[in-house]
């Protein structure tokens, strides 16, 4: 461990640390543009110059200089300050200085550093260089004249996102950052380059010219558009969500955020349910809460519990599911399910539906088997973790499922149907040896494999693979289920599943069609076939007018995830809570309160009068939900039903990454992304951009 002095303070750091990192340990911040702790070191902006002794009598770039024994570093000496002033002057030679019309204004590194190291006037009389804007798709807007060539964006797309589509062309004054083909960045993580760009060269296209950072109220919350539970910061002005940015959480998302989670928020203003509706003579008409409850009461009163059913959707929060489960309990119904996609997960064994290895654990895995899962679309940020693991070396991945989509790391295509999984489970497949040889192998089981009718048998086979290849050992559990919905694990934890003799999603749908189920309560469930519900009386509670609302007989307007404080459990089993960032539209109310009020209207009042009581009830059902932000490891018990498997090929769980939930389907930005990325329509019309 070399010992060195920085600004007169002695510090001992591990060998290989750079001077900049060592200074950071001491709390000394050295200005930088190109250095980023999650990217490789480029050392090309020269803003981090410091004076180092002993050595040549010139300033040295601290971000690229490893520490050495006995170094004496000065970060604020006359020489360092003068050098940085010079660098700043060079950087500004060609910079347009257009802060008043730049979206980065107020949160720009260059602006901030110029306050300290900038000159009050320029010594250059020549024309500034200008660079044409580059086409980077519907999410990233460019103003390349502002670029300072730090290459953070290039390093991010190549290293983290794994799509080497950006680079620097030309040299010297003619150097330009560009997407080589002037095409949209084909990555689900492209929004992150906007955060990374230290100046306003890359800015968010949907957010362009909307707000200044100091006008926004920031709320730290959780994202629910995929099952990862990314930590986000929601920026709101006048109750409207204007942007969503990632928040640091090493265990979940590091500091990245997927494009859908970042940009689908304009869907929060479209298609909102803002008043209850009741169907009268085949027409949905606006109603008051009392009228809506009365309509439900007229239907439900005296009805046998077995003729009532409930399905919870992909973004239902734990509080609402707790209340609805209890309501179904007092109504005497056991027909409830939170797996609207019909996944054959075993709710009795927690280890059977969790991402047991944890997201951070991916980094210690050394072999990976993907079964019916496409992590690049199902959880892009998690996929970046797998790529990070791959880049670290000594990692082998295999995939059973539809080949074709590049996962940004090499995978061995093992086959497309479940028979390969059986072969691996029985040790007849060469990949079984790979898994056995690995110290910490893992399997990622996707919804593409579990939503089939033979899902239970596939779950059992996957378990067998885990058992026979030593995936579950002391301190390591490589059996990981990758969910596609933020509500799923929470629902399973709460036991929002059929009780004894109850019907599951498929049973409920069949029951509705045949008339066996008369009342169906949809808690934000839109991804089921709502046309096949026969004559059932459908109550839809949710935030958006989507498939469920069109079919409904009574609509109860609920809140979206940015408007309520609600608990969600991510795919690892980590309970996290969203915060209220803005208020909901019109008459919409918090979801658990609606159910509580309805229980009162049905004369079956639930003992849930405050959110504390709801949370206490949640923790009573499952103590795991009482500890926030922590993963409680699950015991490895028997689950899955062995049986014959189909020979049909696995399909992917998500057909279009950009439209998976009512919010993203309502979002104009996501519609534009679908047009460009899914339908491959790269041409832009004359009027936009």
């Amino acid at each position: 461990m070399p010992k060195l002095t920085i600004d007169g303070i002695e510090v001992e750091v591990p060998a290989g640390t750079t001077v900049l990192q060592a200074a950071e340990i001491l709390g000394i911040e050295i200005p930088r543009f190109c250095y980023h702790e999650r990217l490789s070191i480029a050392g090309n902006c020269r803003m981090c110059l410091v004076e180092v002794k002993p050595g040549p009598p010139k300033p040295a770039a601290s971000c690229a200089m490893p520490v050495a024994e006995g170094m004496d570093v000065r970060t604020d000496s006359e020489m360092a300050r003068k050098a940085r002033k010079g660098v700043m002057e060079f950087l500004l030679i060609n910079h347009p200085l257009d802060c008043p019309i730049c979206d980065q204004g107020g949160e720009c590194d260059l602006q901030d550093e110029a306050m300290t190291f900038g000159n009050d006037h320029s010594r250059y009389g020549e024309m500034k260089r200008s660079v044409t804007e580059k086409e980077m798709g519907p999410l990233v807007k460019t103003a390349m004249t502002r670029c300072i060539h730090c290459t953070r964006c290039v390093r991010f797309t190549t290293e983290v996102a794994g799509v080497p589509e950006m680079g620097m062309l030309g040299r010297g004054e003619h150097a330009e950052i560009t997407t080589y083909l002037e095409q949209a960045l084909d990555s689900e993580l492209s929004g992150n380059v906007v955060d990374l760009c230290p100046v306003g060269a890359l800015t968010s296209r949907p957010y362009a010219f909307t707000a200044r950072p100091w006008e926004l109220r920031k709320t730290e919350s959780i994202d629910v558009l995929d099952a990862l539970g990314t930590n986000v910061r929601i920026d709101v002005r006048s109750g409207q969500v204007l942007r969503i940015l990632p928040r640091l959480n090493e265990a979940v998302n590091e500091e990245w955020l997927a494009d859908k989670s970042r940009h689908a928020m304009d869907g929060l203003r479209q298609q909102r349910l803002d008043t209850p509706y009741v169907r009268k003579d085949g027409q949905l008409v606006p109603a008051s809460w009392e009228e809506a409850f009365a309509a439900i009461r007229a239907k439900v009163a005296g009805l046998d519990g077995s003729r009532i059913a409930a399905i919870a959707g992909d973004q239902a929060d734990c509080e609402a599911m707790t209340a609805l489960k209890d309501l179904m309990g007092v109504l005497g119904s056991t027909n409830l399910d939170c797996r609207q996609d019909g996944a054959k997960l075993d709710p009795t064994v927690r280890a059977g539906y969790l991402f047991n290895s944890t997201v951070e654990g991916i980094e210690s895995a050394d072999a990976l088997l993907l079964v019916g899962s496409d992590p690049r679309w199902e959880a892009p940020v998690l996929n970046a973790r797998i790529r990070k693991r791959y880049l670290a070396g000594g990692f082998k991945a295999g995939r059973i499922g539809p080949a074709g989509r590049d996962l940004t790391y090499p995978v061995e295509e093992l086959g497309v149907d479940p028979s390969v999984l059986i072969e691996i489970a029985e040790g007849r497949h060469p990949f079984a040896e790979v898994l056995k040889a690995a110290k910490t192998p893992m399997i990622i089981l996707g919804m593409g494999a579990l939503t089939r009718t033979d899902g239970a048998a596939i779950l059992a086979a996957a378990r067998k693979v885990a058992d026979t290849t030593g995936m579950v050992t002391e301190g390591w559990n490589g059996f990981s289920v990758l969910h596609t919905a933020a509500a799923r694990v929470g629902g399973l934890d709460l036991g929002f599943v059929p009780g004894s003799g109850g019907l599951d999603t498929r049973g409920i749908q069949a029951g509705c069609a045949s008339g066996a189920v008369e009342v169906l309560y949809l808690l934000g469930a839109d991804e089921i076939d709502t046309n096949a519900l026969g004559k059932a009386f459908v109550i839809y509670q949710g935030s958006h007018g989507d498939a469920g609302a069109h079919r409904a007989d009574v609509i109860l307007p609920g809140l979206a995830y940015t408007e309520k404080e609600a608990t969600y459990v991510n795919t690892e089993g980590r309970p996290q809570r969203t915060k209220v960032a803005g208020f909901g539209p019109g008459e919409a109310k918090e979801d658990w309160k609606i159910i509580r009020a309805l229980s009162g209207a049905l004369d079956k009042t639930l003992p849930l009068d405050s959110v504390h009581q709801v949370r206490a009830r949640m923790a009573e059902i499952n103590p795991v939900l009482g500890t926030m932000n922590a993963v409680t490891p699950a015991a490895w018990e028997a689950f899955g039903t062995e049986g014959p498997v189909d020979t049909a090929a696995f399909t992917t769980a998500i057909a279009n990454y950009y439209m998976t939930c009512p919010i993203s389907r309502a979002s104009p930005t996501m519609a534009e992304c679908t047009r460009v990325f899914i339908n491959g329509n790269q041409e832009r019309t004359g009027t936009d951009g």
């Binding site: 006048s238 909102r272 803002d274 008043t275 027409q283 949905l284 007018g545």
Partner: protein, 117 residues
Amino acid sequence: MSIGTRLLTMLNGEFVGEDAHGNKYYQERTKRLSNPLYRRKRWVMYKGKAEGSKVPAEWHAWLHYTNDTPLNARSKAWEQPHKPNLTGTLGAYVPKGDDRAGGTRAASTGDYQAWRP
């Protein structure tokens, strides 16, 4: 108009002119030539209620000693007839979003588009 102003007008007022609204303008009759800097007092007798904003621009200039004589009223084609302050009357200004002005306001943050079946 106070008794004092009336009395002053009667005793020492010299009528200068009358504007389009019927307000009458006066100045002192006395000329104190001994003091070349002395300015003769100028005042207005309002028609109806005393209200400062009733004075049109051309007389305003004279009243405040900007000009020696009142300006020519409406000498330019684009000049609008003078309007007194309309606050509190029916003609008062209301913003576009107000119900009295049709109630259609411009879009702003926080708006949402509601779903209708």
